[in-house]
Amino acid sequence: MRYAETGFNLEIDLSRGNIEREATDAKLTELHLGGLGTNAKILWDRVPPEVEPFSPDNLLIFGTGLLTGTPAPGANRTIISTISPQTGLMAYSMMGGFFAPELKYAGYDKIVFRGKSPSLVYIWINNDKVEIRDASHLRGKGAIETAELIKKELKEPNAQVAAIGLAGENRVYTASIEQGRSSCSRLGVGAVMGDKGIKAVVVRGTKDVNLARPAEFLGLCNDVLKYIQLRNDNPVPGVMTILQGLGSPQEMLHVDEKWHTENFSWGNARTRRKEFWNKEIEDRWKSVQEQARTRLVSCYNCPMKCGAIISLPGITTYMMKCFSKLTYTMAAFVDDLDFGFRIAQRATEYGVDGFSTPQIMAFAFELKEAGILTEQDFEGCPTDNEGKFYWMLDKIVRREGIGNILADGVYAAARKIGKGAEAFDHNTIKKHEQLPLKLGMLNPVYFLMYATGEKINITQIEGQFPQSPFPTMEERENFVKDWIQVPDEKFKKYLLDWEVRGDHSNPTYPTAEISAEIVDWQEKMHYIDDALGVCAGLSSFPLKPPYHIHNYPHIISSAAGIEMDETKLTQIYNRNRNLIRAINVRRGLRRADEKPPEDHWRKRFPELEEKLLDNYYKFKGWNNQGIPTKKSLQDLDLASVAEDLEQRGIINNG
């Protein structure tokens, strides 16, 4: 018997309308765990670099994590992987919510889509019965609207639905896959779903998920819950409010936005408004948020409340999480949060990424102001800041006029528009829009994470280690005294030694060697979470989380019945990390691409940055181009990967 996982994938060929239930190899679980790890294995094996994102041969994989659907708190993530139309590299976007556990209960670990449907369809998975159904009546419908219509049509109120909106249907590069409370938004996974002709994936499952050593596993889950309670009662002192607790940043709970509105940039990641937050704004924003927020809600089997139900007069109710309330508001230079909640509703129904899309729009209006785009491109566009953004959102999602060019994202649009537009593309890494955050002094750890992260999204690479040093030794000592999550005691010393000023401060401390170790720890926890399907909000993202490298081996082993210890788990992380790197280097990723935006920090240190990268690559067992060496791949049981890269001339001389 397989434990924690079902041992079966659904293989759906949309071109031929063929559906197969395929047994999976248990050995792959031991090598890659599941989730992101086994998704990457499938992409490596079956999607060669010649395959374009919108080719029928590209795969779209809906994966569950190894622990998803077990009683492990927060193990609810769906990991969607494909080749990104925006970057041409591997995309992995993840969501919480309720979809992945339901898929496990229906009896599957993954759905692997290939081919393209000749007409718009939805997939209905009801335990063993799987159908491809006509979705022509759902064309153009909103993502949430679609979910509601399908549940009604099937008379299945408990089915879980992941759907695209108009943006996905039109292959907008920032199209998301929406699932009520959650979404897979980054890197254009919704565009690939639309390209394949899938409007929605619907699942209902009523089968068991089995556990290998039940009593031991439940004991560990109870410990996790107790630790969550402890952390909820004891916020970390000395860091800003949204980083004090567990979960994703508690943006739906907190109304004080002084920090974000004054430190993040407005418009096209350009303008700091240092005196923005005042009493009048505070009162207004507080009342808007409290009226809009009907209830704080969570994902499957998680006590945190990172999301909210948003109900405002005149718009359909929807759910929101994290930072999206501010992204449109700030990109559009609108001083009223009410706008943020309203436009996000439309954006959710259209199904677009709330990080990238507002930046693309702000970029367009900057180009207009600079005279690079003309009045003609904006014919019919209102002049007020709010109206402008609604108008532009429609144009992009419908791919009309200038919207058709912008729908490919800032990087591609800048190059298509030309006439100097490239200079306005100042906030992308590897062709992908980044947080609108511009800072003063280079932080070496963040430099490495921004530069080398395969996710190309800092929030899903960072975590564990504080973002900046504590000013006093007393605070540092206080922080490290119950820091049980460190993989090694030396990390406590690194934090104790880290000063705000002087020899032991940014950018030269943490040193290149120490920075690589700190990045490695942070990445490790994310890669493990993404393979297990555990939310980063309870593990790799916040400070002092309930899951860590010391309890994970026991949790994995008692759930899945595979032998596990910290060394073996670290080896699996390295294997998955290197496999994804191999997929991307096979698609052309090189050192020259590993660059944070030039203006991300005001103070830059070119020599130091080269040294940081050199050292990080060496630490990883990669050559100076960021390509894994033959030996390091062989050591990770990836000899066949090394052979492939060798045959392609990407690896030579080991």
């Binding site: 077990t70 209960y105 089968k207 068991d208 039940p214 439940l218 209830r295 089997n301 109710t317």
Partner: protein, 178 residues
């Protein structure tokens, strides 16, 4: 029947505190698995979330008595502007719906307040509800002494309702000889 003093366990359900995570369903189904915790499956849970996020409907309901006949309850309730059916509030394992039945056998299930647990331990759904939407209250009451049917009895009763007494008797007799 004689009156006896009895400690009554009551679960207080505060729907305003519910965050809709369904941890109660997860841990209930795991606790009642055989062997204990060996599997989990919300479809087997003895508590179910009536859940419709877009309409802000979050209603945990516990499985109660088995009933062989469907009732005539077709009324609707509107509470705080949210519409519920009479059925939503009902605890019965009844023939008109799939709730509160084992998904494979169709046998009725019922909340037993985790009576197999260590003495003094709260029901698992309460323990796992960190948001305190489910809390345990205990009070003493004078109640009529009555014999409660056990799981096997309730299960057999539902089989008899479905297949008739003779068929069940024959089957039990045949199985007993094996």
């Amino acid at each position: 029947m004689a009156k006896v003093k009895k400690k009554i366990k009551v679960i207080k359900i505060d729907v305003d505190k519910c965050n809709g995570c369904r941890a109660c369903e997860v841990i209930c189904s795991a606790f009642h698995a055989n062997p204990k915790y060996s599997s989990n499956n919300p479809a087997r849970s003895r508590i179910r979330m009536v859940r419709d996020p877009i309409r802000d409907v979050y209603l945990p309901v516990y499985a109660g008595e088995y009933t062989k006949a469907e009732c005539a309850g077709r009324d609707k309730y509107v509470l705080d502007g949210k519409e519920y059916t009479e059925c939503d509030f009902c605890r019965a394992s009844c023939p008109s719906r799939d709730f509160f039945k084992e998904p494979d056998s169709g046998l009725p299930i019922k909340c037993d307040m985790c009576e197999d647990n260590e003495p003094g331990e709260k029901p698992l759904c309460v323990q796992w509800c960190l948001n305190n939407a489910l809390t345990l209250e205990e009070r003493e009451e004078e109640v009529e002494e009555e014999e409660k049917p056990g799981d096997v009895e309730t299960g057999l009763e539902s089989m008899i309702d479905k297949y008739g007494l003779d068929k069940v008797k024959d089957t039990v007799a045949r199985l007993a000889q094996k």
